[in-house]
Symmetry: C2
Subunit: 343 residues, 2 copies
């Protein structure tokens, strides 16, 4: 039987997102936090193994609502933000628009759901090119515009003014993906939820120490949440992740102090990279740094041989690698290896 023939046309050329597992001394490729928080896991022991999870995630939503000064009706929980991207596109359709380069899942999921995916090139400073965006909006009439700020893999925040301008120009929704917002110096968009009617925000626990749990949050006005909830699987967030995620909010002070430590290390690493003649780091408001270097892919492999795993970004940004901020020791290991390799 020819299975290929049965596959929907939009899926035929799609290849799965590659997430490889490599043994290494310093895993600096996936924008994870270097800090574990095993003490919180004991919350999972209270779970009733045989019962379905709370379908609404009420307690977790309450804690999230308190943190972001919202109501629970403004929050939808996802099995990671990835799932929320799926739900948004299933609910509102396409075309789906996003800047390039950016997080690859917007395009992948748009294509998986059979929607048109439109990338709009960022300007030279990796900021939004408002003119180019507005003309693309006029042409394609997107239902959803995904703006990751701080942006992955470039690390910068987009100018708020430009986000506002794009939001005004579209009759669709603007989804501000704030996965890396906790590491940024500027405030996020939560305060604008009331005044910007077409604003949707995504937050996640993945970058601040809890990628294992797969917990994402969609924040928006209640009519958007209610709409997206129609396509949500009733038990999309398992009981164990709900239990531990509640502890994350209860222990947010510790989480915050670790975020501060990462930001401090990021700024140190940036300065050190800037001092290297053959390396050009881009300023970052996230928990990673993108840097330009000659023979980037070869350097990536050389570092890997020394047990240091970075992300090769050359297919998205010429000659560039992305390094996640690790512990001080991991960052030093990376720096010293880099110095010896690029001379």
């Amino acid at each position: 039987m020819n299975i290929e023939r049965l596959i929907r046309k939009n899926i035929r050329k799609l290849r799965p997102y590659e997430a490889r597992e490599l043994k290494c001394r310093a895993k600096l490729d996936a924008n994870e936090s270097p800090f574990e928080f095993p003490e919180l896991l004991s919350a999972s022991l209270d779970v009733k193994t045989n019962r379905y999870p709370d379908p609404q995630g009420t307690e977790l939503k309450k804690l999230a609502a308190r943190r972001w000064k919202l109501k629970t009706e403004n929050i939808l929980l996802g099995n990671g933000s990835d799932e929320l991207i799926y739900y948004l596109i299933l609910t509102f359709g396409g075309p789906v628009m996003y800047p390039t380069p950016t997080f690859s899942m917007y395009e992948i999921i748009a294509k998986a759901t059979g929607q048109k995916a439109v990338g709009v090139r960022l300007d030279r400073d990796f900021d939004l090119n408002t003119e180019r965006f507005i003309s693309a909006i006029k042409k394609h009439k997107p239902k959803l515009i995904f703006l990751s700020t701080p942006n992955n893999p470039t690390g910068n925040c987009f100018s708020s003014d430009r986000i506002f301008a794009i939001s005004k120009a579209t009759s669709g929704l603007v989804v501000v993906d704030e996965a890396y917002q906790p590491f940024a110096s500027k405030n996020g968009f939560v305060p604008f939820l009331e005044s910007m009617e077409n604003l949707v925000i995504m937050r996640t626990l993945s970058k601040i120490g809890f990628a294992s749990l797969r917990v994402g949050f969609l924040l928006s006005q209640s009519s958007v949440i209610e709409a997206v909830n129609r396509v949500r699987l009733p038990f999309n967030l398992n009981s164990l992740s709900q239990a531990v995620a509640k502890e994350v909010f209860k222990n947010y002070k510790v989480v915050m102090s670790r975020i501060k430590e990462i930001v401090k290390e990021r700024d140190r690493l940036y300065r050190e990279l800037k001092n290297l003649e053959s390396v050009t780091p881009y300023p970052s408001e996230a928990n990673f740094i993108l840097f330009k270097v000659r023979d980037a892919s070869r350097l990536h492999r050389s570092l890997l041989r020394r047990g240091i795993l970075l992300r090769d970004m050359t297919s998205q940004v010429k000659d560039s690698l992305r390094v996640t901020i690790g512990t001080k020791e991991e960052n030093d290991l990376f720096l010293n290896s880099l110095k010896s390799l690029v001379k």
Copy 2:
């Protein structure tokens, strides 16, 4: 801003699957196991909170493969079977066909993804009506046919011969949902995976004691698995559920002994219900019993007032309620209350 206008047409009439949380003495509404297995939860303590889950779920797949005598390439993991239904429909499209009455998510997810949903009425014995099915196949040319066997909410297994006949008549895939197979007296369809080219099987941990985890398995030939994997989110199964699910397979003997206990209780409950003049139970191969009774919805409410929660099935099968098999004590509580109410 009018959000309703932005919602895709196929979603506008869609309402979310209602999963309510009600306090009760005997929760016999959701086909969960009555038995907890808290000892297994300690596996979740080994998880590295800060790292993404194994994107392939390799170790869990190996254990599942050993159990079902398959290769890991024949298995895809889902965040519950629900997610696998989503992925199947996103990969192969519609029309989506299923018997009625059956598990409601096939229809809900088909509609959420914008696909045509075609229900084909079961015969008087709740078995597949082959003739009606084959003529519906000719007319609608479904890409996917979902057959839940044992079927929910009717409890019976479909005749294998009829499943084979339907499989031969369609040029699409036949998805045999074996969520309740562990409670059935007949063997499941895993042995037919090699000979039935268009066969896909779904299994789950939800009914055998681990609904909290949200772990589902898609079993099929590798070309089907590879195709569905293209739309799978890379980290769809969190680390905690993976860790505990591995323990489930390692402790399958205990799980099996509990399944046997539930089957024994089911058969006792069936006999007791059959002895009641005003109650007509349908034979069951699952962990629940559907029964006919006068004023079913009123009885449902009366039982609830006594703290006994059943599922009201009157909208799907006239005058019927569905009771999940609980512990001996819960079943007796239900039986005694029922006797006093229907008298």
